[in-house]
């Protein structure tokens, strides 16, 4: 689900009404207008989407965060049987919702970016770095952020986000060559297969990562 994060006073006033007291405090505490608006509009859209999915009222819905800052939902004080993840970049927000399992989403607005060389050093594996470095201009920027969003979506699905060094794993070669989706295991999460999918558009790079749940009767399902 895409969320339009363009500044709009009426839209923002409507969104504030969805927040609970704690969220309003967090919203008011943001020191800068851009991140403040991104949080407000994404959280209100998340609340609306979860209420629809879970069939609950907004007042029944609350959020907790894991040790590493990943949020999860409660309805009436009970953990909700649903997975979700939220990302925002520039004017674009994305919300992913699934019945369960690990889930991560990431979006980055495409545009001029300083320090691209440093970003490449910071997150790409050796093969990825060589492939992206061989490109130039807009192709390099788009290709880099295609990989970046995939890696960040995977790390968010893992649950620790940037606490994991993204250079320690690479996106599958078929996906790096243009396939829209592929599967892999993170070295930090052995035994768990994650599917990563390119869901980007013209103005933004974006990716969705979700846990591949073994079908009932499969070897892995039987081993649990």
């Amino acid at each position: 689900m895409h969320v339009d994060l363009t500044a709009d006073a009426d839209h923002e006033a409507e969104a504030v009404a969805w927040l609970d007291e704690g969220e309003r405090g967090r919203w008011e505490g943001y020191p800068y207008s851009g991140p403040q608006r991104q949080f407000l509009l994404c959280r209100a859209a998340l609340r609306a989407a979860l209420c629809e999915q879970l069939g609950c009222g907004n007042g029944e819905l609350s959020f907790e965060t894991s040790e590493h800052g990943k949020p999860w939902a409660r309805v009436g004080g009970v953990e909700a049987p649903i997975s979700f993840n939220v990302s925002h970049g520039g004017r674009h927000g994305l919300i992913a919702i699934a019945p369960g399992g690990r889930l991560g989403v990431d979006v980055e607005e495409l545009g001029d970016r300083r320090n691209l060389d440093l970003l490449m050093d910071g997150v790409l594996g050796e093969n990825e770095h060589r492939e992206i470095a061989s490109k130039g201009g807009d192709d390099q920027l788009r290709s880099f952020f295609r990989l970046w969003t995939m890696k960040e979506a995977l790390l968010k699905a893992h649950g620790k986000g940037l606490l994991v060094d993204a250079t320690t794993f690479e996106i599958p070669p078929t996906v790096r060559r243009g396939a829209p989706r592929g599967q892999l295991e993170l070295p930090q999460l052995p035994g768990v297969t994650l599917q990563v999918e390119d869901i980007g558009g013209e103005e933004f790079a974006a990716a969705l990562a979700r846990e591949v749940v073994p079908e009932a009767g499969s070897e892995r399902a039987q081993s649990r």
Partner: protein
């Protein structure tokens, strides 16, 4: 500490683009970059810039675990 803080503030001004932040404004030492709304690519780039500028070798995991600029200043001053 003040000198390190000033160098960090200048690195923030030169390297982080945050809608609504005026370059040169003081750093909130007790608010994490992510809580201040700094994007994840900017945080990663900032980690690399800090390592270069201060001649240190902070790992990605270490940097992510330093929750606030105050933690980072303390780490750099102790290095």
């Amino acid at each position: 500490m003040a000198a390190t803080e000033e160098r960090l503030r200048k690195l923030v001004d030169d390297n982080l683009e945050i809608e609504g932040r005026t370059p040169g404004s003081p750093l909130d030492l007790d608010r994490s970059l992510s809580d201040a709304g700094v994007s994840s690519p900017d945080i990663v780039a900032f980690w690399k810039v800090v390592n270069e500028e201060f001649g240190v070798d902070i790992s990605a995991e270490q940097f992510a675990e330093m929750l606030t600029p105050r933690d980072l200043v303390a780490h750099l001053d102790a290095a």
